[in-house]
Assembly symmetry: C2
Homo-oligomer: 115 residues x 2
DNA sequence: CCGGATCCTTATTGATACTG
DNA sequence: CAGTATCAATAAGGATCCGG
């Protein structure tokens, strides 16, 4: 069904792709959302999960994602205060993008290593 | 075929998403590939199609896409020499990503304008 | 130790002009 | 037409510091 190239809701436009890129561009946002697509995570969990990210970048990217309504931030009343992040219902709507990117990334890796 | 959510080949990982981002990251690459997903285009057509891009960015992004085997460059024997760009067969494998991004982008725009 | 904030350096992108 | 060259602006990255 994703391969149907016609139909009114299948009008692929550069503008709509750019709109998406405006929200998701940057080196880390999709990786962060991918990590959160499995479960909610605390800040430090994210630092560990997202390979190579620095707390500064994580912090600012999470803020932007929160502003755009994709991620929800919750301060937990734990001993040393921790903050939990999770995808909002709206944030979960980008899962198909993450899914396709993951498929392609693995495919690409196989191609590079196989050749 | 692309919608199977289970099975061994559907393990979504941060690493594979990052691998994809390494190839497609940047503000313009997906827009360029979106433009080329309809038909092959000459350099100047791409400047017109991809809103806001400058020839420098287009040139360097096309080069990187060519290096990664996603785009094919063909010098045409026209009066003022022109160069045509098209997706390779491998480049066409990112169409599902573009498709999902386009769907989400339109959805997002409707949400922003509707609210 | 957690979640940043700040400062500074490097990499990427943008605007404009210019060449074969 | 299809790029390059150059310089200015912006974004990302590294190191360090701080309040709780």
């Amino acid at each position: 069904m994703l391969l149907v190239e016609n139909g009114p809701e299948c009008r692929v436009t550069i503008k709509s792709v750019q709109d998406t890129m405006d929200i998701l561009s940057g080196k880390w946002k999709l990786s962060i959302m991918c990590a959160l697509s499995f479960s909610s995570l605390r800040f430090m969990d994210l630092v560990r999960e997202v390979d190579g990210i620095r707390s500064k970048m994580l912090s600012s990217n999470l803020y932007e994602l929160e502003i755009n309504g994709l991620v929800k931030r919750t301060v937990l009343d734990t001993k040393p205060l921790t903050v939990s992040y999770e995808l909002t219902e709206y944030g979960k709507t980008i899962k198909p993008i993450i899914h396709e990117m993951s498929i392609w990334g693995r495919h690409h890796r196989d191609k590079i290593l196989g050749t």
